[in-house]
């Protein structure tokens, strides 16, 4: 299959339009176009239930015009992309980096794991919540300890807030 037809098969017109929006922000050369890869992968991931399949990455690579292997380098490098791994309806990331760790993040993770009955990197049996694998710093040290739920930052977390937030997820 040619590269163009891979992109055409997988990407909708609307997805192409949204990727074009990001492409327009960078120079129109090989490196510039490649800069849009992260935004493009997010678009595909958001549209596909929070996870990426191989064909999505291939389609994005073909559409942007970058080597397929380079697109997979990006998709496998960042922990925010879930390539070839099932995810639940909600994603919960705990930061365990230095500031959060000093403020008791490890106990919060242990609590969440015990409460949900899964380890980090796993999804609850009902498909409700994925406890995302251990993260690097999530850039909210001033609010440590913290977690991200479906892209929203929750800072200065006491244990009770965790109950409240996790129980509120359908």
């Amino acid at each position: 299959m040619t590269e163009q037809s891979v992109a055409e098969k997988v990407l909708s017109a609307d997805q192409c339009r949204r990727i074009d929006h990001w492409l327009a922000k960078f120079p129109d050369d090989e490196q510039g176009r490649a800069s849009a890869i992260i935004a493009a992968l997010h678009i595909l991931q958001d549209d596909n239930g929070g996870a990426l399949q191989r064909q999505h990455v291939e389609a994005v690579a073909a559409y942007i015009g970058m080597p397929r292997s380079s697109a997979f380098e990006v998709a496998t490098f960042y922990s925010m992309f879930h390539l070839d791994e099932p995810v639940g309806r909600h994603k919960v990331n705990f930061c365990t980096n230095l500031s959060c760790c000093l403020n008791g993040a490890d106990e919060l993770v242990a609590y969440a794991e015990q409460k949900l009955g899964v380890r980090q990197g796993e999804t609850t049996a009902d498909g409700r919540i994925t406890l995302v694998r251990e993260e690097e710093c999530l850039a909210a040290c001033t609010g440590a300890p913290m977690m991200i739920v479906d892209g929203h930052y929750h800072t200065h977390l006491p244990r009770e807030r965790i109950d409240e937030i996790l129980d509120g997820l359908s």
Binding site: E58, S69, F72, E73
Partner: protein
């Protein structure tokens, strides 16, 4: 201060070293012969400085600096062996070995491993690391490159090579940090025609030569210089032998030719040496049965056979078909042998069908420039060449030029999967090719105010937008290159294509060049292996028949030098018939397949590549000699020795050579006044046959691993995805018109002389109304030559 504005003087370990402004420290120290350990740095790859092995101490810098990524500066003082530097290097070495298995005794790289060597020189005696090491699952990268990814130290040379040199980035650094793996992720292997180079680049035993695995240890091997027999580049190789057996091939650096790279067929061609149908003993056919006989019997029988044809039917009924991959000495002696018997029917242009311009052809059809000069061309027009598969390392030069901004243009009978950006790629049906190239010639004439000679103007088509575009780019500067490829050379109007290409090159002030198909296509012209000229280009007393004429007209006797009738000849169908009906066929050959056994009467086994000394003349006219280093099997002998003996048995004059150097000396002496000159062909239509008739236009090139008998027998190469399948490729519009979609997977392809059943594939790269079928493959013979007209019918 340095005296020269372009250089700076630095001090390395107390001695002054001249360095070019802006270059990296390691380049200056390498040139000065000062060794700095490294893994990720390679002079032909982009610098990434990720292995950190080349750390050195630089005065006034608080931390050690990587020599590969530190530009030189006037007065810089560098210490490569100070305590500070050595400590840094030892620290890096310890980190690199943390996850590297200590399994050198069972590692194929053991003994030629950069990690092993550097660890011995710069590491500690013992490991302080007692924790568990990580393990990485191996990936199957295809039949050529073996993997042991646990050994990988992430230098990324392989990734950078495939990206920047091979232009097909199939490997990447997947995952991150502790989990990083060099992989394809999609597990479809690496499929570049240059993939084997990652083996040489890999500083550890992670990527290894798969077919060679566990065959020998490097310290047991002897290394001999050699030259690749598979294309006109003449890549420099080292042959490694174990007790007289050729075990493997690695590149030998020659910046003017192959830099540090070789193509996969240069490396893995030798896997065909031990094929089952390798001819071991001289054989003669008696009453339809083959018998192994002593050399003397076979030579007498061969001599009687050849002489008998001459006596009964006249010398004009004897012809020699000589492989263009044979050595200069073999070609020269074969041509002399036939001429000695009175026959001028000698040719090595086996895949050509139009030689009507031969009388006015240049001394040799060469590249018209050096291989390195291709990079300097202002624009390149390829006429009938998929250079990537025809001459991978010439294509590499074109790719470098293209990336530097040179417009590369192609006028081919279909589009191909290039690894370089083409400024113009026009797919032209083979029966329209002359007209379309004529249109380009007219456009060039329009730009330059020149005039296309009448007979060419009569066949030229109108000027279209593409022609104007090509003409504009070619005439922008006066240093363009117009290169004639294998497909144009094998076209039934090849001479007219050459004439037009010559006009285009001349008018645009550029150089005309031919991409010679085989290792000695150029050499054959010098050795007198053409019917109208003897060695050194001296005119023959009477011109004999060209290869395609010998086949088409049918002779009573043939002498074959390493030729496989159904694979190597322009019209395999006619060749099969002509050889089958001949009274005598004497074949001096490396292999003997069923067809050859059927048509031949005497089979004489010869040494293959690596087993026989000889000389190849490459595309740029460079003579490169090599020794025979492997032992031919059983009774096989180097071709030049057999020819010498045959010449002696035939009582021909001047075959009493003592050694091959005498043959070389004699031939070189007769060629010496004549060096390659700028190419020119007569600018008129002299002959050739236009492709006419009803049906689809048949076209095909010889796939990358089908060019010569040796490479065809390399099983690992044949298993690659690019080896080329026998199938018919049709434009989607043609598929629709023929109503094939939804029907059977196979179609009947009917040519003038026969038909074959083939699978079909829709391919938008093929122009409408063209049936693209690769040439040179078994099972295609019934369709005749590579071009023509065929009917395609649903089954």
């Amino acid at each position: 201060m340095s005296a020269n504005e372009e250089t700076v003087t630095i001090e390395v370990d107390g001695s002054a070293v001249e360095a070019r402004k802006g270059e990296m420290l390691i380049q200056a120290t390498d040139r000065a012969g000062i060794h700095i350990p490294r893994f990720c740095y390679h002079k032909h790859l982009p610098v990434v400085a990720n292995c950190r092995m080349c750390l050195v101490e630089i005065e006034k810098a608080p931390k050690p600096m990587p020599a590969c990524a530190t530009p030189v500066a006037e007065g810089m003082k560098v210490a490569t062996t100070s305590e500070h530097a050595l400590k840094a290097q030892r620290g890096v070495m310890e980190f690199l070995l943390i996850n590297h298995p200590l399994d050198c005794p069972i590692c194929d790289q053991g003994g030629e491993c950069e990690l092993q060597d550097v660890a011995m020189g710069f590491g500690r005696g013992i490991s302080r690391f007692t924790e568990g090491k990580r393990v990485v699952a191996d990936e199957d990268l295809g039949p050529l490159v073996g993997t042991q990814m646990t050994r990988c130290i992430h230098c990324t040379r392989c990734v950078r090579f495939l990206d920047t040199v091979a232009g097909q980035k199939e490997l990447g650094g997947m995952f991150r940090g502790e989990h990083m793996e060099i992989a394809t992720y999609v597990e479809e292997g690496i499929n570049s025609e240059l993939s084997g180079n990652v083996i040489d680049l890999c500083p550890v035993g992670a990527l290894t030569n798969k077919p060679f695995a566990f065959r020998a240890r490097p310290w047991e091997l002897l290394s001999f210089p050699a030259v690749s027999p598979h294309d006109g580049v003449g890549s420099n190789l080292s042959l490694h032998t174990l007790r007289g057996q050729i075990m493997r091939v690695v590149p030998r650096e020659n910046q003017a030719i192959n830099e540090t790279w070789i193509a996969d067929r240069d490396r893995y061609g030798v896997e065909g040496l031990k094929a089952e149908d390798r001819l071991q003993y001289p054989m003669v056919k008696r009453e339809g049965q083959w018998h192994e006989v002593p050399w003397e019997t076979a030579l007498n029988r061969a001599a009687e056979g050849l002489k008998g044809v001459v006596e009964r039917h006249g010398a004009a009924e004897l012809g020699g078909l000589l492989a263009p991959s044979a050595t200069l000495e073999e070609l020269y002696l074969s041509a002399r042998l036939l001429r000695g018997l009175g026959s001028g029917n000698v040719d090595h242009r086996l895949r050509e069908g139009d030689t009507s311009d031969q009388a006015h052809a240049p001394l040799v059809p060469w590249l018209g420039q050096s291989i390195a000069e291709l990079e300097e061309a202002s624009a390149v027009l390829l006429v009938g060449s998929y250079a990537r598969h025809e001459q991978p390392l010439i294509n590499h030069r074109l790719r470098k030029a293209a990336l530097a901004g040179t417009p590369i243009m192609a006028l081919n009978p279909r589009r191909f999967e290039w690894n370089l950006p083409l400024a113009v790629e026009e797919a032209v049906a083979a029966d329209q090719w002359v007209q379309r190239l004529g249109g380009v010639a007219q456009a060039v004439a329009e730009q330059t105010g020149g005039r296309l000679p009448d007979s060419l103007a009569a066949v030229a088509g109108p000027i279209d937008g593409t022609a104007r575009e090509i003409a504009r780019r070619l005439t922008e500067e006066r240093t363009a290159a117009v290169l004639i490829g294998n497909m144009a050379t094998s076209h039934p109007q090849a001479a007219t294509l050459r004439a037009l290409a010559g006009f285009i090159a001349e008018q645009s002030g550029g150089r005309l060049g031919v991409l010679p198909e085989a290792a000695n296509t150029v050499g054959g012209w010098l050795a007198g292996a053409v019917p109208h000229r003897e060695e050194g280009g001296h005119p023959a007393a009477a011109a004999g028949k060209a290869a395609h004429e010998m086949v088409a007209q049918g002779l009573k006797g043939y002498f074959l030098l390493n030729v496989e009738p159904e694979r190597d000849l322009w019209n395999p169908q006619a060749a099969r018939t002509a050889l089958g009906e001949a009274e005598q066929v004497v074949a001096l050959t490396v292999f003997a397949d069923d067809t050859l056994r059927e048509v031949a009467d005497v089979l004489l086994p010869m040494g293959a590549f690596g087993e026989s000394a000889g000389t190849f003349v490459n595309a740029e006219g460079r003579w490169q000699s090599f020794r025979g280093v492997g032992e031919p099997p059983a009774d096989a002998r180097p071709g030049w020795r057999v020819l010498r003996a045959l010449g002696t048995v035939l009582a021909l004059d001047g075959f009493a050579y003592n050694d091959i150097a005498e043959i070389y000396g004699e031939l070189a002496g007769r060629c010496q006044e004549r060096c390659p000159e700028p190419l020119s062909y007569p600018q008129e239509v002299l002959g050739g046959t236009a492709i006419a008739g009803d049906g689809l236009s048949l076209a095909g090139n010889v796939p990358i691993y089908a060019g010569d008998p040796l490479v065809r027998r390399s099983e690992p190469l044949q298993r690659t995805l690019i080896a080329g399948r026998l199938e018919v490729r049709l434009a989607p519009a043609t598929v629709e018109r023929l109503g094939l979609a939804g029907g059977t997977e196979r179609v009947r392809v009917r040519g003038a002389a026969g038909s074959v059943e083939l699978p079909w594939v829709a391919d938008a790269a093929v122009p409408p109304e063209t049936a693209w079928i690769p040439a040179g493959l078994a099972g295609r013979a019934a369709l005749g030559g590579p071009f023509g007209k065929v009917a395609v019918e649903a089954l």
